[in-house]
């Protein structure tokens, strides 16, 4: 049911938690299925210095949040904006049909991050 990438990130999720004083907050929610991700970001100018999240939902959506957080941490906002679509398409590995909504979640996370302004 879960590919190796999803399995690894679900059982050992990175960056779970909450920042005390985030510079930015992102909230992703799907009211139909209930997958919800709350992200806090700490910026140093345009660099994602730290990121923490809380994810509620299916294993694949929790893994998506972990994968995204690992990818963006330590990158600049411009680097994140410049991420090729082809890279995003392979980040989660091969998904089952009922997990494809997680790819939408990943794109939404990227989109929200692209709207973040440097401090």
């Amino acid at each position: 049911m879960y590919n190796a990438i999803i399995s690894e990130h679900f059982m050992s999720p990175r960056n779970i938690g909450e920042l005390e004083m985030p510079d930015e907050r992102i909230k992703i929610g799907n009211p139909i299925c209930g997958d919800t991700i709350h992200v806090g970001i700490e910026l140093k100018e345009d660099l994602i210095f730290d990121i923490k999240y809380k994810a509620y939902g299916c294993a694949a959506s929790i893994a998506t949040a972990s994968i995204f957080s690992e990818y963006v941490k330590g990158k600049t906002l411009q680097q994140i904006r410049d991420t090729p679509l082809a890279d995003k398409e392979t980040m989660l590995g091969e998904l089952e049909p009922n997990q494809m909504h997680c790819y939408e979640i990943l794109l939404e996370l990227f989109h929200s991050m692209c709207l973040v302004k440097a401090v």
Partner: protein
């Protein structure tokens, strides 16, 4: 060791799933005396506890802190010692720590979402899933008896609400039917189309209606206002699930509901049945003809003292429900719920526990799939009927 314990143990050694074999024998096990059922339950639950104790490091740690091990479970009175998992843990960001089985063995995720919007997710491996399917069908067959007919599903389809516990359960009915239709689309419900379908199925199928009480109530109210009444069939069942309390706090009166529903559709009140279950467990407790909600005889309901949850309440007294479901292998199916209930017996010929649901305990989230659905439909209806300003 009792006869039943010996048989279960021997069966297990021969590769026969003891839980599965009891589930498959639901009809006869229901008719065993309660003390015999308790022997069977004790063996199944003890074996299941042993499995999780030996294979779930976090759960074992909890057991050791509470100084309880499988050797301490010798009678049904000892079941109360088995540590439970608070149902809220299934919403936790670290819910993966509940798992006894590795992620590579998981086959399915099911969710329930209350009005908070945070989903409770339960994950199942192959064997738990198989037991779960058998358990639910065993109860459907025992309590409803049908294997045919056409059903109106007053619920969204899985395309509209994927992986939702209520939808999954309603969908399972279709395996016992000749025909079925979903009548909640895009969070909308048109009662006239339901009546049209019931009319089409007249003299074709025995007709059933299945859905949450708030939607059945709406249908009944609509049908009551029509000139031409619809009289359902001798074997029809109107089956509700999802609870009797609205997200607004309004409670549907159960007795009045049964009376009115039966009157409007021209059936007997004993054809109106309710079910109770939790997405985190693998069974449904279902109304018999006497409207007593029978707990499957392989599951144990432990009603806890509200002030001292490590102790059981006096027999027949209300308390907080702790469920011991031995069918779960993916995670310990020993769940402390947020529900206030009391248990009793029934004279219908089936022995064992019957559960009377009272309400959610104070401070608990008011929610389940049905309440979330009702809120979603209500929000949508409010948007449709509000006039634009300006």
């Amino acid at each position: 060791m009792s006869t039943y314990s010996n048989v279960l143990k021997l069966g297990s050694e021969l590769g026969i799933d003891p839980v599965g074999s009891i589930i498959a024998s639901a009809k006869s096990v229901f008719r065993l005396e309660a003390d015999v059922q308790n022997e069977i339950k004790l063996q199944l639950i003890k074996d299941n506890f042993t499995f999780h104790y030996e294979n779930n490091a976090l759960y074992k740690k909890v057991c050791m802190e509470k100084q309880v091990s499988p050797e301490d479970i010798q009678s049904t009175c000892d079941l109360v010692k088995i540590p439970t998992i608070a149902i809220a843990k299934f919403k936790d960001v670290n819910a993966h720590l509940l798992l006894t089985k590795p992620i590579t063995e998981l086959q399915h995720e099911l969710r329930s979402t209350g009005t908070s919007g945070i989903p409770s997710i339960s994950r199942r491996d192959e064997q738990t899933l198989t037991r779960s399917v058998h358990s639910i069908y065993a109860m459907f067959r025992e309590m409803f008896g049908f294997f045919g007919g056409g059903a109106i599903f007053l619920a969204p389809s899985a395309e509209d609400m994927p992986e939702m516990g209520l939808v999954k359960l309603v969908n399972m009915f279709s395996g016992l039917l000749d025909s079925s239709r979903f009548f909640v689309h895009d969070s909308s419900f048109d009662p006239q189309s339901v009546l049209d379908q019931l009319e089409k199925w007249k003299h074709v199928h025995t007709r059933h209606i299945i859905g949450p009480p708030f939607l059945v109530e709406r249908l009944v109210q609509y049908a009551a206002g029509q000139q031409t009444p619809i009289k359902l069939d001798r074997q029809s069942k109107i089956i509700t699930l999802g609870g009797w309390k609205s997200f607004t706090g309004r409670e549907i009166d159960r007795l009045e509901f049964n009376r009115e529903t039966a009157a409007v559709f021209g059936i007997q009140e004993d054809q109106v049945r309710d079910m109770f279950g939790l997405v985190e467990t693998n069974f449904m407790a279902i109304d018999c003809e006497e409207h007593a909600k029978h707990v499957p005889p392989w599951v144990h309901f432990s009603v806890r003292d509200m002030d001292h949850p490590e102790r059981e309440a006096a027999p027949g007294e209300p308390g907080r429900l702790a469920v011991y479901d031995p069918s779960s292998l993916a995670y310990p199916g020993f769940i402390m719920t947020e529900d206030l209930v009391y248990v009793s017996e029934c004279g219908c010929g089936r022995h064992g526990q019957t559960v009377h649901y009272m309400y959610r305990i104070k401070g608990a989230e008011i929610g389940c799939c049905a309440i979330n659905l009702e809120k979603y439909m209500s929000d949508k209806e409010a948007r449709v009927t509000q006039c634009p300003i300006g």
